[in-house]
């Protein structure tokens, strides 16, 4: 591939590709990510749709929050089990709303560490109906406690 064909002007996500230079030599070229530049909007569209769809399933009592985050993070029950140091069978039970309550707080903390969400995220989702309102979950040094900040963006 010629250097000019791999060059993408996108500073936010840089990658190194190898290509044929003008003088015919082969070497590294630092450039923007083609897929991020051209397809990131599509990624977020699909991700948001997935979040909405699975949040509805949690609300409808079809799945537990653990199953919700597991799908979002593209993990399998067996991989998740290995990460939270529980059996796959137990993780599969925790994925159902009926048995979610059997998980201990300490086990939920381990799940949250894998999903990188505060422990409160296992019990609630905060959504805003108003435009320009930003809700942020802030983790604290206490693994069992987080703070929500609600701010309106300045006009």
């Amino acid at each position: 591939m010629k250097e000019k064909d791999v060059r993408v002007d996108y500073r936010k996500h840089q990658v190194v590709l190898y290509a044929e230079k003008r003088d015919g030599s082969y070497g590294p070229v630092r450039t923007g990510s083609y897929i991020t530049k051209n397809y990131l909007d599509d990624y977020w569209l699909k991700r948001n749709n997935l979040e909405r769809e699975y949040l509805e399933k949690v609300r409808g009592g079809e799945i537990s929050p653990i199953a919700y985050y597991m799908v979002l993070e593209e993990l399998t029950p067996s991989e998740l089990a290995s990460r939270v140091k529980l059996s796959t069978r137990k993780v599969k039970r925790h994925m159902t709303p009926e048995h979610f309550g059997e998980a201990t707080v300490e086990q939920l903390r381990r799940y949250c560490e894998v999903f990188n969400v505060p422990i409160a995220g296992m019990f609630q989702a905060v959504v805003t109906r108003k435009k320009g309102v930003r809700v942020e979950e802030l983790k604290t040094d206490n693994p069992y406690f987080s703070i929500y900040t609600i701010a309106t963006e300045k006009k």
Binding site: M1, V6, K12, H13, Q14, V15, V16, L17, Y18, A19, E20, S25, Y26, G27, P28, R30, S33, Y34, I35, T36, N38, Y39, L40, D42, Y43, W44, K46, R47, N49, L50, E73, E74, L75, T76, S78, E79, S82, R83, V84, K85, E113, V114, N116
Partner: protein, 334 residues
């Protein structure tokens, strides 16, 4: 500590090359990748993966071990049961101004864009300093040296799951004064070519590419819905281009390795082979662009997937011929 940070295409080859350069060796990332037989293909369907996937490089860790066995560089390697001991050992080395490569879970590299960070336990970074409880790390995917808080570093080094790092870290303790590049290069080539065409498993090497071509038309059955299928098809582009491969699933980097090897060994045969694999890589890139396009358009009917499949079959044929020739050539040269 004066550590020269440079971006690289791939985390493991880039990390090993950077550490060896820090020790004064004149070595490039493609040379590290090629001598350690990095190029590969494998198609996997497993309970550990939520969807079928493929790899385009050898097993994580083999770039380091390959370099150790081929050029005689010695690495000090450590794993830990106790995270506290792992932290103390790393901090102690950094206090002595020794840059240390750490195996981590990519998910916790919070200085990189959120959409690229996934749980994968085989990401390598170099810790170069610890300042006020924050590690300064040289990550091949970051344009600059980046800060990583202690909490994230600990989670990343001691994550569970497949290929759990268990705090694994390494750094070179001795590099050879003289290197027999000829033997190292040809052994690396022979090993890579053997892995591509001679392994009997149906999911590895050229056979793996054919299995991928065969199976991709069945992916709609495995997907939740069209958007999920689109996501997985577009991931073909990410796995080939964006996930630290240097483009075309490492084929461009391998072409650069063969070109560098041709110049070092003054071997015109390798020069010709570098051109061939560069052309093979060009067609792989067409596949990844095709996958991204049909994924975004949701143009994922059987006709399109069969078209994608036939493009992949063509690559299998081209790579079989290429690696068979390379294997035959390597047998004559060593």
């Amino acid at each position: 500590m004066t550590f020269k940070h440079t971006m690289a295409a791939h985390c493991e080859s880039g990390t090993v090359a950077a550490l060896l350069k820090h020790e004064g060796m004149d070595i490039s990332e493609p040379l590290v990748f090629g001598m350690s037989a990095g190029i590969f293909f494998g198609y996997f369907e497993s309970r550990k993966f939520p969807f079928p996937t493929f790899v385009v490089r050898n097993r994580p860790g083999q770039i380091r071990t390959g370099m150790a066995s081929r050029i005689g560089v010695k690495f000090r390697e450590q794993k830990f049961r106790d995270p506290g001991a792992g932290e103390r050992a790393l901090d102690d080395l950094l206090a002595r101004e020794i840059p240390v490569a750490c195996q981590t879970d990519f998910f916790y590299m919070n200085y990189l864009p959120g959409h690229v960070r996934v749980h994968i336990n085989v990401h390598f970074i170099i810790a170069v300093e610890k300042k006020d409880g924050v590690y300064l790390v040289s990550d091949c995917y970051s344009p600059d040296i980046a800060p990583l808080d202690r909490d994230s570093m600990m989670k990343a080094r001691f994550a569970g799951g497949s290929f759990a790092p268990r705090g694994f870290m390494f750094y070179p303790v001795s590099v050879p004064e003289r290197i027999d590049y000829r033997t190292a290069i040809w052994k690396g080539i022979r090993s890579a070519a053997f892995n591509m065409v001679r392994l009997p498993m149906p999911f590895l090497g050229v056979r793996g590419i054919r299995l991928f071509a065969k199976k991709v038309v069945d992916w709609p059955r495995l997907a939740r819905d069209t958007e999920h299928l689109s996501h997985e098809i577009m991931k073909i582009n990410i796995l080939l281009e964006d996930q630290g491969t240097g483009g075309a699933g490492f084929r461009f980097m391998y072409a650069t390795f063969l070109r560098e090897a041709a110049e070092r060994l003054k071997d015109p045969d390798l020069h010709d082979m570098s051109k061939r694999i560069m052309e093979i890589g060009d067609r792989w890139r067409e596949i990844s662009l095709f996958a991204a396009r049909i994924g975004k358009r949701r143009d994922l009917g059987q006709d399109r997937l069969r078209e994608l499949s036939s493009l992949i079959y063509e690559r299998a044929d081209a790579e079989e011929s290429f690696f068979r020739d390379l294997l035959a050539m390597s047998k004559k040269k060593i």
